[in-house]
Symmetry: C2
Subunit: 306 residues, 2 copies
DNA sequence: AGCCATACGTCAGGAAAACGCAAACATGAC
DNA sequence: GTCATGTTTGCGTTTTCCTGACGTATGGCT
């Protein structure tokens, strides 16, 4: 039997707060006790360990080597305890807060909300639009729907939903379509394609996956977000590049074309949840998202042989 | 500021023990207190949460849904706290315990120990041979050297050292060498190659990476471990398959040949450490292993174009 | 059915831990 | 030197936690 002992937990919590805030007083305020109490706990922990965790220099303190190591090892654990407890206290009766980038929200999630409400009627969902730099802290979130490539942060619990596939799309009303129709994918290399600031590598990724020598040389108009990019493509302004599910509806309706198919990228559609015990609502949502994405991928044209 | 609260920690520790052991009395024994104390803590925690964590049925208890979720969310965190504390208490003065499979130990680590001692003289290293099913619990270990493909367990902190490359090797004394010399790799498909029980997929992986239609059809002699497999190859008994670094010395000395080069696999050479604060000894060891592996890979012939 | 062994719950009193308060101490700024 | 800031220390008090003994519920055994 593993007879491993835990350190004095309250002292450890005090240490974690002090190490994080770099101050006894600040930690004391956070824990609603006096600084004297904290100081005492620190001493206790250092005695239990047998060597100092901080180097004192009169009025300030700084983590020692041992202290740094302990802080690195414990802060994540405490975070997980906090998350887990908070998630449980909030309870499954509270709405499930799902974070997701604005573009995904507008172009994919919202059009499918009615289906979601029908398939998972008991799920109370609150949506929260995150900034596009897709590294949310997921602090207040119960989950986040993301497009991201591994490796993912260790403090996420990740459910892979589907591989990402991206491809060039354009409106049949686009003036250049007459010129491009019937051409192979490499014809795009000479096209002034549309691109987005939130994902500058998209064309390069697509080109390398498609086996083309490089991304389109001339860069056409740029847009701040994928959402605007797709609106521009729908308006016939040029050739955009987008993940298949985001344009599945437009392809089905004929508003957009994807003559060169879609190419897989290293990224994945994922549902990231905090590392608490598996929330049954998250599991249900993940399963639904997976089904929904699979359907969209199926409806999108398969990868075109370049 | 995130004003998130932690649950009563001592009560949570009691809960974790009870949930793990499925018994109040067993948990009480583990924590060196009476069952009454545990029972009280459980009640306290349930009151703080506002709903029961266990379903009582007279003389036994079982986790409720909420209890299961809390246990999933907290057990890992407590494990990390235990690990972190234990690692720090043991101290950097204690020897670094490195686990690794017997084959790796015998054929790669041990021959390089003298160089390791010269390059990292202050590192006290204890070696521990693990069973070949490469999923050690790394409970008592400070680290483990492994060949494994992602995804890795979430409770490991993984440092990738090098991609794995495997390839067919044989002794120049092997009777079939005359027949094979100069032939392309696909000639091996008709060869009765040697294989190992600890890695039955090796030939298949190699064949698919090399773009061959399938693994060698006829299976020659099998061996329980890679170590014996390589001894057999050295003895001229046939064609074995092995990771490049494990045969680097033999290739350099001419005891083995690798006429068809080595192919990358999804696996990696990794140093897995428990999720405590980064141990400086582990960092130093990882850096050294990385250098050493890079040198071995360089000395091995590059991937042969099949 | 009656009895015993097992396992959890509860309560009172006492031990131990943690706390608040206030004074002491250390350092850097002025 | 004096003040402002921030940590440590000593002591009396409050809070928490534990022990130990007893009560209750269940299942196996005769």
């Amino acid at each position: 039997m593993t007879e491993r002992e835990l350190p004095p937990l309250n002292a450890l919590r005090a240490f974690e707060a002090v190490a994080r805030r770099q101050s006894v007083s600040a930690a004391a305020a956070e824990l609603h006790v006096t600084h004297g109490a904290i100081s005492r706990q620190l001493r206790l922990l250092e005695e239990a360990l047998g060597r100092p965790l901080f180097t004192r220099q009169g009025r300030g303190l700084q983590l020692s080597a041992a202290g740094t190591q302990l802080h690195e090892g414990t802060s994540a654990a405490f975070g997980q305890l906090r998350d887990s407890w908070a998630g449980l206290r909030r309870g499954s009766s509270a709405p499930f807060v799902l974070g997701c980038s604005g573009s995904l929200l507008a172009r994919w999630v919202i059009p499918r909300l009615d289906r979601l409400a029908r398939d998972l009627p008991e799920l109370q969902l609150h949506l929260s639009a995150q900034e596009d730099p897709l590294t949310p802290a997921l602090g207040e979130l119960d989950g986040a729907l993301l497009l991201a490539a591994p490796p993912w942060p260790a403090n996420w619990q990740v459910t892979e939903l589907a591989p990402e596939r991206i491809g060039p799309v354009l409106s049949p009303r686009y003036a250049g379509w007459a010129r491009l129709a019937g051409q192979p994918a490499r014809a795009l290399l000479d096209e002034a394609v549309l691109h987005t600031a939130s994902r500058p590598q998209a064309w390069r990724d697509w080109a390398s996956a498609a086996g083309l020598p490089g991304p389109p040389a001339a860069s056409g108009q740029g847009f701040p977000h994928l959402y605007y990019l797709l609106e521009a493509a729908l308006a016939g302004l040029g050739v955009a590049i987008a993940p298949a599910p985001l344009v599945a509806d437009d392809l089905a309706a004929g508003r957009l074309l994807a003559p060169w198919g879609f190419q897989p990228t290293p990224a994945r559609w994922i549902l990231a949840t905090p590392q608490r015990g598996r929330d049954p609502r998250a599991s249900a949502l993940a399963a639904w998202l997976q089904r929904e994405l699979a359907a969209d991928e199926k409806s999108a044209p398969l990868t075109d042989s370049a």
